[in-house]
Each structure stands twice: as structure tokens, then as C-alpha cells.
Symmetry: C2
Subunit: 616 residues, 2 copies
């Protein structure tokens, strides 16, 4: 998500921008006071609980200037605070400077949750939110907490109409089909699986609100959200048909015809409540974590006004799990996409090395541009899966750094460069991080890098029984750092979609508990790191596929297969810190990288790769 022209870090015009922010906050406070609202909570989400959102929903950025993907703004009559997580601490400090908004470092033990902060500071008052950007579950949880302090929650407080006058409209890009040749399964089969799954819970229908769940179910893709190939829509699966609620002009006649073969209809984006009012006998599964309060209220009002013609039953969407268990076609596609991305990375790393050797000036942004150029040469390339993080030296310590014209650093022949990037291909989505030495590096850099690598290998080589959760595996990535009093506060791994969102649930590998178990077919990132603020950052990221390993008298055991193909910089490794097994993993990984990539490389490139994948 780039906003180079607005509130980018270290922007020369920042003072000017900050006075704009103060003006917007003043208008917001005026609207709050008019409605008797003492605090307004503005999250980063859209109406579909998306992590990345279309510009239409960038309300939190509009009011704060903070451009990170995660963060929640709380505005009271006197104060304003932004809660964000450790990935964004440094960026938020930069971007909030002089805005009057104070940073709350979420995740640190001494920082209260937003709800607790409000309970402590505003007992007995009213809190306003725009219900369309909060899930039912979030609203219920807030209400439960606020009730103890007599705080009332107003869920239809949306003052944007008067304030954000030039708000972008909801995007209306054309949708397109994701052919079965890549998805491996027709929409019809997927819909049947969903029907069968919700039938087990006594439901005959399913309401889908998550954009990636809709995209997966109907083998439909869009480009409404940068880097995420999804379209803004709701969908309802009933016993007779499926209906996608979407701006009509986005769907061509050909696609409608194709969808119709699986009894999939198209209706206007805002017609879900009206459609429902005409139905009878539906028992609809809704996921309260994925359905927004506004649509829930709209459906609820409808059922209050007339004879109840349908029943809502709360429960987790079965699509998240169906979607994350990749089928053989998707896995083959992932392998192919990894090969292409590996070629891109090899060429990029060679180009960087040559640039450094030749003394040709180049910057963080030129690396990013080169990446896109190299990826666009690959077959089935659709776009980037997220805005690349190219952070030289101290910028590498800003976990979700994105270079702006102002911050853009020239890369010199010393220190380390962190590159976190990914591509969207029709046959798979990629996400890789490499940290490389661009010249002289310190021993501490090498030590830190080797500790991170040991953790990376810990996950890559993990073997674990059926029923194991990501939170149990997480320490395998962290323990070497913890032994030295180091840590990183971001997750170790996230699920990844197949030509879909680069972050997807339901599984992950994190410090925090998540009851979802790691199952064969899941693709998850493996990305430990360590960050020395103001100095450098290190992260090593591959994607891993969970697979069955063996059956014993003690049950089924699973393992990971590393999918990503790209050398890890051995110049940054202290081999004496690695065990024999760790060296063997690295050597075998490098052998695989060479074997799979070299047939597609020029002789020159082969030689380079050979040198980078020598046994240590």
C-alpha cells in the first residue's frame, strides 16, 4: 500500500501534512461533540474485515497520516492515540510526529488494550464507531467490556460524509475467472463442499463476507485491492443457488454466463438485505468474526419488521479451512510459481552484486523497480503480492518499511540489505525475504543472522504429530534468539493464499494462541527475524508446505517442505554456530535451489548460483 504523495515517512512536506491531520481531527471532534460521543474508534479495516483495503476505506490513514497496514486510531475530545503493533513502531513514530496523535505500542505488557484504555478513561461515556468496519464479534466483545463501566457503544457513527468530501468511491474494476487449470476445482464442487459442511451444523445456507473467501469459492478474481486479487462483494449460498452481491458493471456477460453454469447469480452490492427478505426457509451460517455489524443490523432489522423468513446461525466459516488446504493442482502451481520467483530473485541478487561491483548508484526504490521488471518477464505474472520492503541498514529494522522518495537510501558496499517481496502469478502467490551483505559486515551482524537462520531451520525441519498448533511450533524459531536475550515481536509464519491474499488464515505460527492445527496441504511462511533499531534488520523467509511424514504406533506425524527457491547469503553465516544437522539442511536446501533453478538460467547465471550454493 503506497502513499508516496501523502504522509510518507521523512517527507519534507510533513509539517504541512500534519497540519492537515490536525484540521481533520478538529472536524471529527466537532461531529463527535454534536452527537455526544466522547471517543471514536477508527480501525484499518473495510466492510469485509480485510487486512489490506481499497482507498475508499482508508479512513484511519485519512485521520492520522499513519500508512501502515495495521493500526487503530482512538480520538477523544482532547486527545488522540494510535495503537499499532511492533512491526510499525518505528514507522508510526515517524508518521505521527507533530500530528498530536500519540503512539500506543500494542503488545507491550504495559500498554492497555483499546477497550481497557477506554474503560479506565471514559467510564459512563458514549463511544462511536462505524459499524460497517467492525465485525459482529468485535462489537459484541466491546459491548461486553464496556457494559461493566456503563459505556455505551454507538455503532452507526459515521461522520465521513461531511468530512471526507473527496473520498474515493468503491473500485469498479472488472472481475475475471481463475480457470480450473490453476484452481484445481470448479466453483460447483467448492459450493457443494460448503453446503455439506454447513449442513453438519444444521444450516442450509452460507453468507460469505470475506473477499478472499468469495474469490476462492467462485474461482473469481478482481483488482479492487492493491496486491490482493479480490473484488468487493458479499455472497450467499442457498440450497437452490448462489448469489454474488457486487457492482453489476464489474461482471461481463461472458463471466455471468460461465457462473450461471454453476447456478451462480449476480446482484447489486447493496441488495443482500432485500434479497434475503424474499427468501423462505433459509438457515444461514454466518461467521461473526467476518460479518460486519452494519450488514448484520440491516439483516436483523429486516427480520424484526416482518415474519422471520430465515434464521441466522453463528459459527466459523468453513471456507477458511477448505481454502487453506491446498489441492494437488494448487500445490503444483505453487511449486511452479516458486521456480519463477527463484529466477527473479537470482537475477535481482546478481544485478545488485553487479551494481555494487561496478559502482553504479542504485537505491532501495531501484531494487523495488528492478524486482517488478524481472517478475513481469515471468509467465502468468499478475502483479506484486504486496509492496516490496527494501530496507538498507537501519531501514531494515523498520519491519514494514516502505521506501518513499524522501527516505530512499542509496545502497553502498557495506552492511546489510533486507528484501521482503512477493508476486501474484495465476498459478500461485509468493512471499520471500532475504537479507544480504552488500559489503563489509560486523561480527554481531553475522551472529544475529546465524541465530535467525538457526530458528528458520528449526521450523523448516520441524516434525510434529497431528493436532499440533502453530503456537506450539513458534518457539523453534525463537529459542536461539531468546537464549541470547534477543527477540522479535511479529509472527513467525502466516498462511498464504493461492493466487490470493498473501496473508490468509486460519492457521499461523505465532506467539499468540490460535486453536487451528497445522494440517497437510497448508502453505505457511517461515520468517523469523531480529531488528536492531537504528542499525539494521534481519529476516529470512521461505514458504513451507505441511505434509504427512509418517504413521507410527503413536499416530500421524507431519513435516514441512520448503517451497521457496533462493540462496541464503552464506557470507552472513558463522558456520561454527551451526550444528551438523543445520549445516546439512542448508547444504541440501542450496542443492535443491541449484537443481531446480539452474536448467532455466543462462550459463553466466548458473555460475553465479553455483557460487552461492556451495556447501559450507
Amino acid at each position: 500500500m503506497k502513499f508516496r504523495t501523502f504522509a510518507s515517512p521523512l517527507d519534507k512536506k510533513s509539517m504541512e501534512n500534519h497540519s492537515i491531520i490536525r484540521g481533520r481531527l478538529a472536524k471529527l471532534r466537532f461531529a463527535m461533540q454534536a452527537k455526544g460521543i466522547s471517543a471514536c474508534i477508527i480501525p484499518s479495516s473495510d466492510a469485509h474485515q480485510s487486512e489490506y483495503t481499497a482507498p475508499h476505506w482508508k479512513t484511519r490513514t485519512y485521520f492520522s497520516g499513519f500508512t501502515g497496514s495495521a493500526g487503530t486510531l482512538v480520538v477523544t475530545w482532547q486527545e488522540a492515540f494510535l495503537w499499532t503493533d511492533s512491526r510499525y513502531f518505528l514507522q508510526a513514530e515517524e508518521e505521527l510526529k507533530d500530528t498530536s496523535i500519540l503512539l500506543q505500542k500494542a503488545g507491550l505488557p504495559e500498554i492497555p488494550s483499546i477497550e481497557n484504555w477506554i474503560c479506565t478513561n471514559l467510564p459512563g461515556k458514549s463511544v462511536g464507531i462505524d459499524g460497517s468496519v467492525f465485525s459482529i464479534r468485535e462489537v459484541k466483545s466491546m459491548q461486553d467490556i464496556f457494559r461493566n463501566k456503563n459505556i455505551s457503544l454507538v455503532t452507526d457513527f459515521d461522520p465521513l460524509l461531511q468530512i471526507w468530501t473527496d473520498r474515493p468511491s468503491i473500485p469498479s474494476n472488472q472481475v475475471f475467472l481463475h480457470p480450473e487449470e490453476f484452481s484445481g476445482e470448479s466453483a460447483g464442487v467448492k459450493i457443494d463442499k460448503i453446503r455439506k459442511s454447513v449442513a453438519g451444523e444444521g444450516c442450509n445456507s452460507m453468507l460469505l463476507c470475506s473477499l478472499d473467501e468469495i474469490a476462492w469459492t467462485f474461482n473469481l478474481r478482481g483488482s479492487d485491492v492493491q496486491c490482493n486479487p479480490v473484488a468487493i462483494a458479499y455472497a450467499l449460498i442457498t440450497p437452490q443457488e448462489s448469489v454474488i452481491f457486487i457492482q453489476q458493471e464489474k461482471v461481463s456477460a461472458e463471466i455471468r454466463e460461465e457462473l450461471f453454469k454453476n447456478k451462480i447469480m449476480i446482484a447489486d452490492y447493496d441488495r443482500l438485505p432485500v434479497y434475503l427478505s424474499a427468501q423462505k426457509g433459509l438457515t444461514i451460517r454466518i461467521d461473526s468474526g467476518k460479518t460486519n455489524q452494519f450488514i448484520f443490523d440491516a439483516i436483523g432489522r429486516l427480520s424484526e419488521n416482518k415474519q422471520l423468513s430465515y434464521i441466522l446461525k453463528e459459527g466459523p466459516s468453513p471456507v477458511a479451512l477448505l481454502k487453506t488446504l491446498k489441492n494437488e493442482t494448487e500445490i503444483a502451481g505453487f511449486r511452479n510459481a516458486m521456480k519463477k520467483d527463484g529466477l527473479v530473485m537470482v537475477r535481482l541478487l546478481m544485478w545488485i552484486e553487479q551494481s555494487l561491483a561496478s559502482g553504479r548508484a542504485f537505491t532501495e526504490i531501484s531494487v523495488e523497480d528492478k524486482l517488478k521488471e524481472l517478475r513481469s518477464e515471468q509467465a502468468l505474472y499478475f502483479g506484486e503480492s504486496f509492496d516490496a520492503i527494501v530496507g538498507y541498514q537501519e531501514h531494515g529494522a523498520i519491519i514494514h518499511y516502505h521506501a518513499s522518495e524522501a527516505s530512499n537510501q542509496q545502497i553502498r558496499a557495506e552492511g546489510m540489505l533486507l528484501i521482503d517481496t512477493g508476486g501474484q502469478y495465476f498459478d500461485g502467490t509468493t512471499d520471500i525475504t532475504r537479507t544480504i551483505a552488500t559489503g563489509e559486515v560486523t561480527d554481531r551482524m553475522k551472529q544475529d543472522f546465524t541465530l535467525v537462520l538457526k530458528g528458520h531451520i528449526g521450523i523448516a525441519t520441524a516434525r510434529f504429530p497431528k493436532g499440533t498448533r502453530g503456537s506450539q511450533l513458534d518457539i523453534l524459531a525463537r529459542r536461539f534468539l531468546w537464549n541470547e536475550g534477543l527477540s522479535y515481536l511479529h509472527g513467525t509464519g502466516h498462511g498464504i493464499g493461492h493466487f490470493l491474499n498473501v496473508h490468509e488464515g486460519p492457521q499461523n505460527i505465532r506467539l499468540e494462541e490460535n486453536p487451528v492445527c497445522i494440517e497437510p496441504g497448508m502453505v505457511t511462511s517461515n520468517e523469523p527475524g531480529v531488528y536492531r533499531a537504528g542499525m539494521y534488520g534481519i529476516r529470512i523467509e521461505n514458504l513451507v508446505l505441511a505434509r504427512e511424514e509418517k504413521e507410527t504406533e503413536f499416530g500421524s506425524f507431519y513435516c514441512f517442505e520448503t517451497l521457496t527457491l533462493c540462496p541464503i547469503d552464506t557470507k552472513l553465516i558463522l558456520p561454527e554456530m551451526l550444528t551438523q544437522e543445520e549445516k546439512e539442511w542448508l547444504n541440501s536446501y542450496h542443492q535443491t535451489v541449484y537443481d531446480r533453478l539452474s536448467p532455466h538460467l543462462s550459463e553466466n547465471e548458473q555460475t553465479w548460483l553455483k557460487n552461492k550454493t556451495y556447501e559450507i
Copy 2:
């Protein structure tokens, strides 16, 4: 908990006992049918949610013959099932043989929870429980689940009066004080801490129902429950005074006088509701996980019948955390108790070795008796902290095995012997497991032992930041076994009381999530194992104290200090499977064992210990 005369494993009289069980079930079904109850749930708990209970509450054993400490019986008109966890699978299979009761192996993925089993099999029916042996939380959770299937829960179904005519009464053993010299803190100071803690939640009073929380708070001990030095009681702390509800005859005049110094009164066990009805202005914290439904209903009925004179506020008891964070006096006491227990173990292991060498016949039960004899020689000894598990060869695979006259094995000069035992001393509670070779052992035994040892060292040497939960550390104990397709299904570690229950919360180290973090001052067991059914079992258990290790720019880091002092059998170790660091830990541990114990040993014993603690 021993029941040698009744339904012990492999008992020759088992067929006879099993017909008794069938008769009792028939009477229970008659009572169920008379009240229209389709299923009756009988847990192993007492009215205080204790893990180990007085004979008065051994209802589940009475109706099933199963003597394990954990297990729940479900009886329907046609069938009966016992749910128990992996520790008891083998024992339950033995004990349930021919009783008509079927085993449900809880924890296996294919086994439904009791609630789900009932939902599937008895929709629309009535389920009966004795509310006094279920917590408020358990009842609420069952009601929530049953509601979806129109199942009603009758919480006052207690047919025992008619059936269990010779039911033992509630024990009436004398209580005694645990002097501040050992507890390190007066009851007055502890009560003030509790008052302060609940005040933070808007309460001025605290209801205590857990026997160990009551014992800790008032520095009072008893002997109502075998191995647990607690007395059956409730207690209420109000702003003015504290009241212990307990059978009056248990408390001597001297103790009453001592308690009165801290404004602690004594009232009859059943007077809590009546006492409350005379109170005004109390806002009482109750822990719904620790308060039984019967007492809650009794208090609730009272508040319905008259002007509400007090308010109940649900929330976790602060005592659990206060109690588990051991003070310096308690820690010093633990160290002293470990030294004594180490001497006991050294003498026991020597005695076993000499018995084997001399060809003197000895059995599992003689080891147990010898243990008690040796412990009773130690200062401040009070009793065993649980019935020792002494399992030779295949008995070692029965995780909570207890030798009966019938099962009692002679120990021969081959294979392995598992000894899990602990003592109650006035200055601390101990819990240790050692598995030793009594003669020739196989390579597989050594491999398994070394894998378990590697896991044990993994926990012993863990370093982790503040905020880490036991479920995150757990894999450090399991990963070596998992790598080889092995596992164990019990927890890796439980908290342990100070001259109190050998199992105490709130922290633990388990597969299952538990939000409680490991904090400095907590004492937890470290006991990985592996069990080959019908062959042998291995477990290595020490107690570890969590301590602060260091502060870095990344925060506070903690580590464990191993408290238990006893050699680990090096004859069972394959040194080539250990890393250099693991060998160093073992050698350093053995050096500590020798250094701390040898001053208290005879020359002969010193020589023996020297031999057992040589560097490998």
C-alpha cells in the same frame, strides 16, 4: 490414592467386584428412570474441585471400579462410558473389564467430548448431575452446549443417599498451623494481599472454595485428603473479618486463638449461606471455576428470597497466582526439602542395587515401603505427596500405575524400573521420577531414554522472555521424540504447592493452551516420558524454579533452575546422541547433586554417588 482391597488392577477377585459394579449401575438407572433422567454424569471431583478427594466423594470409583485420579463416568439407561486421559488408558482398560462400562480415550482426535457425545446421542433428553461436584463454570458450559440440542440439565440429581448406604462421612481430622518460619508470610499479610487484589476488581470480599487456597491463605493444614495436607472447608474474607467454614471439632481452642489474632473466625462447614444472609454491603469475588453449583444455588436462592444484601462478582481467584509465586522462605524450604529427598533417593537407589546384587527378592511394593521408611527418617517429614508409582518393565508403561498385591512384580536384574514419588515436608513438597536400569537393557530402551533426557534438558535449559506461556515451552521437551515418531500425551509440567498439593495451578507446561505465563518464583515439574505399552515406560522428572535471567534492550528474560537433587541413570544414556551442551548440562547437574548431597552422606554412600555422577 490406594484401594488395594477393591478393584485393583489384575485383582483375582475382579469378576466378583465387577458384578458389584453392575448391581450399583442397575440401582442408579432405577433412580434415573424414576426422575426421567436419560444420562447421569459422575466426575471424580469433590465439592471443592479437588483433584484428589476424600473417600466421601469417591462416587465415580463407587459406580465404576475405576480408581484413577481423573475420569468421568456417564451412565445412560442402556450404556455406560468412562472418559479418562492417556495416563490412565491401560489402567482403565484393566479395571473396567467385565463391568459393561466402555472406555472413552479422552484427548484422541476421534473421541468426542462428553458434552458432544450427549448432544449426538441424547438430543431433547434430560441429563442429571450432582451440582455440588461441578463448578459453576462447568455447569454453565454444559448448559450452553446442551441448549442447542434441547437437552435440559438437572443440577440437583444426587441419588447416592438411597444407593451408597455405607458412604464414608466427611473426614474430621484435626487441623494444624503451618508456622511462618516455613510459610514465610503471616495469614494477616496474605489476607491483606487478597483484599487488595479483589479491590482492584471492585470487590471487598472473596469467597474461597479450593482447599489448597484456604490452606495457603490461613497457613492452616489438615489431613482430610490422602497425600494433600488440606482440610475440607469454605472460607470468606470480608472487609472486617475472615471466616473459615469447617467442622467445628477439627479446630482446637489454641488454633482458634491463634487465628483470631488475624481476625479469622470459625463457623460450621454448612453455615456459609446463613452467614451471608446476615451480611450487608459485601461485594464478593467468586471464581466460577472453583465454586460448586450447589453452594452457588444456595447463595443465589438466599438472595432471591430477600433484599439482596450482597453482590457476587465473577472472576479468577487471585489466590492461585499469589500462592504459586513462592517467597524466599518457601524457596529456601524447597531447596532443603530437595536435599532431604535427594538423600532418600540415593539411599533407595543404593538399596535397590544392593538387593539386585545380593539376589535378595524384592518387589514394586517393597520399593514403595522402603521409600516411605527412608523419607520418614528425614526432618520435618509429614507424609507422601502422592502414592508412589513404582512400575517395573511393562508396568512402567501404565502412566499412573499403582502396584496392588495382585499386580506386584518382583524386580529382576534386567530391564527398567520407573519410580515416581514425592514427599510432604513442613518446608516443602517434592515430586521426582527416575527410570533406572536394573540390569541388561536394549538399545531401543537407551535410545528412548536418551530422547526423553534430551527433552528434559530442553526444558531445564530453556530461556524465554517475560510473557511466555507453558504451552510455548512444551515442545522443547517433546521435539526429540516427535522427530522419531514418538510422543507422550500427558503434560510436561505441573505447578507444585509448598507443603501443599503436589499438583497446583495456575501455570503448567502442556500441549494444551493455558494463558498463564511462567513467572519468577513458580515451581513446576519437568517430566517428559515415553511409554511402550506392554514393554516399558520412561519418565525423568525434576522440579524447576523459574528465575530472572537478564534484562536486555528486548526486555526481561527468565530461565529455570533445577531444584531436584538425584542422579540420572547414565547406564541408560547413549552419549553420542547428546550434543556438547546437553552433556555439559548433565555433567554440571551431576556435580551439583554430588556437591549438595555428599556432605550428608556416609563415606560408603559418597563413593556410590561419586560413581553415579561421573562426567560423561
